[in-house]
């Protein structure tokens, strides 16, 4: 069994190739790049990555226009079939805009673009994305965004917390995110969105290899399921 992933490419994506290398080196798998105008995804995917960047120049709202790209209709269908989907940074924004994840990402309450290594706590390690971590483990990844401030209404937040959908929390909240949420998944547990970049923390030379554990977790999930 060889791990098979696809990385979406939108006009303005800038972490797409980082994601490809991160997944390839972490899993030894095969990664296809899929253009946003494509109307079909490769078959037999174990993972779809919605990468970071500035899709459509962040015009209107971050991720709003990308969420209506032809390929996103296929991503929604794949997610409904149970394929694992991860959205990182702009990818998280796109997943919220597409309705695959609840809530929205707003301007950081500092009004600043935050670009720095950041400490996270693994809040839920019983997921396909995080089974390689231990409960409450401290991990380091790099943050790089101006709109990472997660918001949702009180009822939605209660549901997210009650369902164990919070996967990563900031140890020190950098941007005003509700409940220190840095990463959250859907109720089914196969769609994860996160602002920090595991794709910028997959080898020790990058300052941290904690992100590789996420991709290795997905590999192990695929192996277990096969």
């Amino acid at each position: 069994m060889s791990f098979k992933a696809a990385v979406l490419v939108f006009p303005g994506s800038n972490c797409d190739r980082d994601c490809k290398v991160a997944v390839e080196r972490s899993t030894g798998g095969h990664v296809d790049m899929v253009w946003h105008q494509d109307t079909a995804l490769p078959s037999g995917l174990d993972l779809i990555v919605v990468p970071g960047g500035f899709s459509y120049g962040d015009y209107l709202r971050c991720g709003a226009m990308a969420s209506l790209s032809p390929v996103m209709a296929e991503v929604v269908k794949a997610a409904e079939r149970g394929v694992n989907v991860i959205g990182i940074c702009n990818g998280f924004q796109i997943l919220c805009e597409s309705g695959l994840l609840p809530g929205a990402l707003m301007r950081n309450n500092t009004l600043k673009y935050i670009c720095k290594p950041i400490e996270l706590k693994v809040e839920n390690h019983n997921t396909a994305f995080t089974q390689g971590y231990t409960s409450g483990q401290s991990v380091w990844m790099t943050q790089g965004n101006a709109d990472g401030n997660f918001v949702a209404d009180a009822d939605t937040l209660n549901a997210i917390e009650g369902n164990g959908q919070v996967v990563f929390r900031y140890v020190e909240n950098p941007n005003g995110s509700a409940n220190d949420i840095a990463g959250l998944m859907n109720t089914r547990g196969n769609v994860l969105g996160m602002m920090p970049h595991p794709d910028r923390a997959f080898e020790a030379e990058l300052g941290s290899d904690d992100g590789a554990t996420l991709f290795k977790s997905l590999l192990n999930s695929a192996l277990t399921a096969a």
């Binding site: 709003a64 226009m65 209506l68 707003m106 301007r107 950081n108």
Partner: protein
């Protein structure tokens, strides 16, 4: 027909941009400000032409556009004018 859409953050959603503008209006360090300004909200206005036979038809279409793209109703509300 001409459509005009206003998009604003919902009441209660922190508008950090509005806060920053408010701070500037209240007075930056070297500029005499307007201390009487409060509750600044920054929104967007979109104007465009819609080909439609009636204003009601155009308005219904523009509302659909708002729900699907122009506004994120999780955090934003909108108003539509068609003339």
């Amino acid at each position: 027909m001409k459509a005009k859409v206003h998009v604003f953050l919902k009441p209660g959603v922190l508008d950090v941009q509005g806060k920053a503008v408010e701070g500037a209006l209240n007075g930056l360090s070297t500029v005499q400000g307007w201390a009487n300004v409060s509750h600044v909200r920054v929104g967007k206005v979109l104007e465009f032409d819609v080909a439609a036979t009636t204003a009601d038809e155009a308005k219904a279409q523009v509302k659909d556009m708002c729900d699907k793209l122009l506004a994120n109703t999780v955090i934003e509300s909108y108003t539509v004018e068609v003339a």
